[in-house]
Symmetry: C2
Subunit: 208 residues, 2 copies
């Protein structure tokens, strides 16, 4: 991805926060007939591994095999930025429109986890992660469903891991602007409800 | 993309609405060293053409040439769906977690628009589109900036069109659930502020 040095997101905690807050990844990979993309929720399982699952009848299973390279893209918040928002515009009018956004690209190798034990482990981790977040102490558990139903469901999925080889992330949040314009964009992000972009600006400003 | 028939979004108006509401596209394409992805705001320019621009020093310009195939992905709203949300769960417990989301895949051919006239036209259309939406009658106009500055800025971009060859879209909004569970998910989407997903469910229900 196009990544000028000032937009390079090098903070590992921030990268993991973006992934955690926007887990529905776009997984892209080359096929003989072009590029394919699948949309799959992923979570970290340790430091260098993401896990998720395809449907067992997904076209991804015809295209992807153990060891194949994939790119998992996590799209964070985004916002249009108008030149009208910059105080500096009133003086010199040397501004143009742009977009602010955060995105994480994780390049890695896919490996399928198709034994009953592996399938149960992946689904258990995903369920615990997302249910605790959604429902806290009332989290749904796999044990809430009949055992035959869970076995039937496990038969319909193809869990996999992505072993992380390279991570590239971008936080494009107007940090290349003058301080008063950067401040003004933070205020706009706050009032527009783009709290993640506002927080990233705030921490960059604290380190200026 | 994996697309069971019941999740196939065939409504052209809805597809254009998703693109318009989520214009920051992920553009992916094959390169000799793997798949690359760029994040670029795109708008329709007519029925079968998208327009946008790369930075002139983007790595995309080393990889992409006129006529190359690209896939532009527009990610709409998404939401985790807990089994706890389904009224039917209390009776039979035969539910598992999932995610709802909307996404549009537009496959097409890229062509660069590098003459001064073409560059000015693309930037003018993008500016008018996004500024009117952001600022209405107070929209910023290119003429607000000094002419030398606009010329300098035009030198820093590489506008392009994508000629649309094939569009595939997905609205995964629990329409494969029983009516009472589908209703309950709509209510959850409304209360969570996922208005686009709620509206899509509402229109599907009206046609049941």
């Amino acid at each position: 991805m196009y990544l000028p040095a000032h937009f390079d997101e090098c903070d590992d905690d921030e990268i993991r926060r973006i992934v955690s807050a926007h887990p529905l990844a776009t997984i892209v990979y080359s096929t003989p007939s072009g590029v394919d993309a699948q949309h799959i929720p992923l979570i970290f399982d340790g430091e260098r591994r993401l896990i998720g699952h395809f449907a067992a009848d997904s076209d991804a299973l015809d295209k992807l095999h153990d060891g194949d390279s994939v790119l998992a893209i996590f799209n964070g918040q985004c916002s249009y930025v108008s030149p009208n928002w910059y105080p500096g515009k009133i003086r010199h009018h040397r501004h143009v429109p742009t977009w602010n956004y955060q995105v994480v690209h994780i390049h890695g190798q896919v490996s399928f986890l198709m034994s009953k034990k592996e399938k149960t482990a992946v689904v258990g981790k995903l369920t615990t992660h997302f249910e605790r977040r959604a429902n806290g102490p009332d989290a749904w558990k796999m044990a809430d469903a009949p055992a035959d139903f869970i076995q039937e469901m496990l038969g319909k999925i193809a869990p996999f891991a992505i072993t992380v080889e390279r991570t590239v992330a971008k936080s494009k949040v107007s940090q290349n602007r003058e301080r008063e314009d950067f401040d003004a964009v933070r205020s706009k992000m706050e009032s527009a409800g783009h709290e993640e972009l506002a927080q990233r600006i705030k921490r960059l400003e604290e380190n200026l």
